[in-house]
Symmetry: C2
Subunit: 267 residues, 2 copies
């Protein structure tokens, strides 16, 4: 329903990342898998989740008498260190362990550096033919008709820095977490409780808004989105305020909102 | 979400009836069970479903690490004949087998006859004290101060006929079904396909709108609501029209609409 509301095409989704097997993070999955099948999907779907979910998923599909029109490629998450789990033309994705009541993983999505930007004036100055532009954007030097070699650095500008996004939920605070997401552009981090509920946060394996802000600060994030608020909080002002006292560029997550990483990068 | 939208209080729900273990009939259950628990429910919840679901439910609650704040009393549905599964002060509920690809059950909800209605003029005429009215409504005769016995039938009118509602989904048409729901006030019956898709209906274990109408006619229902339409149909006009050619008082199900059985009874 949220995908339809936000006009996201189902066929665009090829990878699903599941942090852990608690209801608020997984109950929607079966309806989505079934809908894909009703729509006649053929492309395989890559599903990344804690390793014990592989057998559970298989059993549940059988329990619910679900026969999918496509294959699920299950990628098990395990271990105590960050692991590269996806590396395609545009991005890499790394999974890293969180600290919750059950095995839980966070995800770091890092854009690959784009092409270098060609300097327009250089095209005229050196009479660069259109056919050479793609290789120059990929870093090649240019040899002029008169034999003079123009170094790539003289005719191009570097691509923008690679943007990245990290998703950390659900988790307690732990010191090492920030090292997994060093210099991330945008961090989503759960903040289930206000700061006075530190004890409850520890017991339930969740974070306070101060915990989330500390992770953002220690990681050197550009911005922080907090979410996963306990239903006891009717508004998010105090949660955001507490986080901002530690890490300035903090925002409360808003359902359906799009965040532009280039804008965040220039904050 | 639908309960909240329709302002139905969660604490009012003590019995859940599951026809069969297919996604469109069960995926919403786990979120509901979890929400009850988050709200601190203490009262047991009665869950009626095909018998194999008992073990599945237990496994799924464990798989999802769900710890409920209340007990689930699981009532297994089995067998080829109607069974009385609930009998409280106000209603009885019977489960009966349907004919689908997997074990599937329908439900017949029958109101208990209410109290007899006392005739107002009789109160003045025979000088009936207020203290005697409850027993008279329950069928007692009245002995006047002068020793004359007035028969209950002279001072009361019978209660309205007991209303009933039957839910039949998912199922193929089969002759015996109508005998399970004889004289039902309101029948909800699936009508997945238009009448020209009879073959597909048989293969998939579903009904056409003509099938649904035939069940309503054979059962002597007062009215029929059809639903569970294939997503191939953009509007329901033809489905309703086909059903009405067999059974007049047919309506297409509308999400969130309330149907008044006393109005239907007087159709």
């Amino acid at each position: 329903m949220q995908l339809r509301r936000n006009k996201i095409r189902f066929s665009k989704i090829n990878h699903i990342f599941i942090s852990h097997i608690h209801g608020d993070h997984i109950f929607g999955l079966y309806g989505l898998l079934s809908t894909f099948s009703l729509l006649g999907r053929k492309n395989p779907l890559y599903l990344y989740a804690p390793e014990n979910y592989g057998a559970i998923l298989k059993a549940h599909l059988s329990d619910f008498d679900i026969h999918l029109s496509y294959e699920i490629e299950f990628v098990p998450l395990r271990g105590k260190n960050p692991v590269l789990i996806l590396d395609d033309r545009y991005i890499t994705v790394r999974a890293f362990p969180l600290l919750h009541r059950i095995p839980s993983y966070g995800f770091l999505f890092t854009e690959k550096s784009g092409e270098r930007k060609i300097i327009k004036e250089a095209i005229t100055e050196h009479n660069i033919p259109v056919s050479r532009i793609p290789s120059i954007k990929n870093g090649a030097d240019f040899t002029r008709e008169d034999g003079v070699v123009i170094r790539n650095g003289e005719i191009t500008l570097p691509p923008h820095s690679a943007y990245s996004y990290a998703y950390c939920s659900d988790t307690r605070y732990f010191k090492r977490l920030s090292t997994f997401i060093k210099d991330v552009t945008l961090l989503y981090h759960e903040a289930t409780f206000e700061t006075d509920k530190q004890k409850l946060a520890l017991i339930t394996g969740h974070s306070t808004s101060a915990d989330a802000a500390n992770v953002a600060r220690e990681a050197g994030a550009r911005a922080l989105i907090i979410g996963h608020f306990s239903s006891r909080y009717k508004d998010t002002d105090k949660l955001v305020k507490e986080a901002r006292s530690i890490f300035g560029p903090t925002f409360a997550a808003e359902e359906g909102k799009t965040y532009d990483l280039s804008e965040i990068d220039s904050l």
